[in-house]
Symmetry: C2
Subunit: 185 residues, 2 copies
């Protein structure tokens, strides 16, 4: 939901949501027993979307750097298409676990461990330079998310629209190039 992403959980009232949907506040509470539950369902929906999209990329048959690039691009595309969602996830991570039904970390964990195994394999094979795979993945996740979650900050710093096509292309190119430089030199 756009509103939760832009204004946070506490900053979004049921009135705001109802107004956006076009019904009354009470009618909203007829479908969802409480605000927390509504938020939880919205969030869960988005997490599963993300998970599905990432999963498609992860099972790509590429190997070595090509596979890493496919996954990076898939993540970038999804975040670019769902910048609101990035803000929502960041807020959830910031808030810790408050008013959060599902634990994102545990949902993502299987895929995370699979990625770790992939990097360990490639590093052992000498395809990639040695780095701690878990740290590497968190650095990558931070590099992808920060551009979108801190868009307002980036805009102030660079005087560009971070979500415009040119800026997105430049950001994508940099992230890919940067990780390639660090991993395969």
């Amino acid at each position: 939901m756009v509103l939760f992403a832009a204004n946070g959980y506490e900053g979004t009232s049921l009135n705001d949501i109802a107004a956006e949907v076009g019904i009354r506040r009470s009618s909203l509470l007829h479908h969802f027993p409480s605000k927390q539950i509504l938020y939880g369902e919205v969030f869960e929906q988005l997490v599963s979307d993300w998970f599905a999209r990432l999963g498609d990329a992860v099972i790509s048959s590429d190997t070595g750097w090509d596979k890493a690039e496919v996954v990076l691009n898939a993540g970038f595309d999804f975040f670019a298409d769902n910048a609101d969602y990035v803000c929502l996830v960041r807020r959830a991570a910031l808030d810790g676990s408050t008013h959060l039904t599902v634990d994102i970390a545990s949902v993502l964990r299987p895929m995370f461990e699979k990625s770790v195994a992939y990097f360990e394999r490639e590093m052992a094979a000498g395809t990639f330079r040695r780095h701690d795979p878990r740290q590497l993945l968190i650095t990558g996740y931070g590099a992808l998310l920060s551009w979108f979650s801190d868009a307002a900050f980036v805009e102030g710093l660079l005087d560009i629209d971070p979500l415009g096509p040119d800026a997105l292309a430049a950001r994508r190119e940099h992230v890919i190039g940067f990780f390639r430089a660090a991993l395969v030199g």
Copy 2:
């Protein structure tokens, strides 16, 4: 302020703050005309602290990779000492400019541009591999901040305390090593 960092602006009431300080809500409003102003002063104080600390590192007389490492370490130290502050900044970036007196971006801009010039110089000299300096800085900022701002997420993913001494050391080592690999191979 710890509360703003943990619960956000909307999530923190004047009652909470007053309780922490040990006075009544009204007494708080005697010192600060409004909640926004209180928040603004807290935030401004922290920004200037950060700025001062970064400034010390930036004027270090080192050159090439050594200087980059000094600055990275200074940033890491400050964030490790003020993890709450990281959360506050992230929230500010997420909220855009709402209820924000000072614009962080414009405050940081002079130092940002100075850093850009430094990287351009080193890249032209061949000390560093070629990357877009602005993108590089934002990637670095994201790599440093995300560990602290998303600590709850990291904890769920790695089953460690991200702010414990061992985890901090490992994170610092990785970030330094990763950027060195990308920049100087």
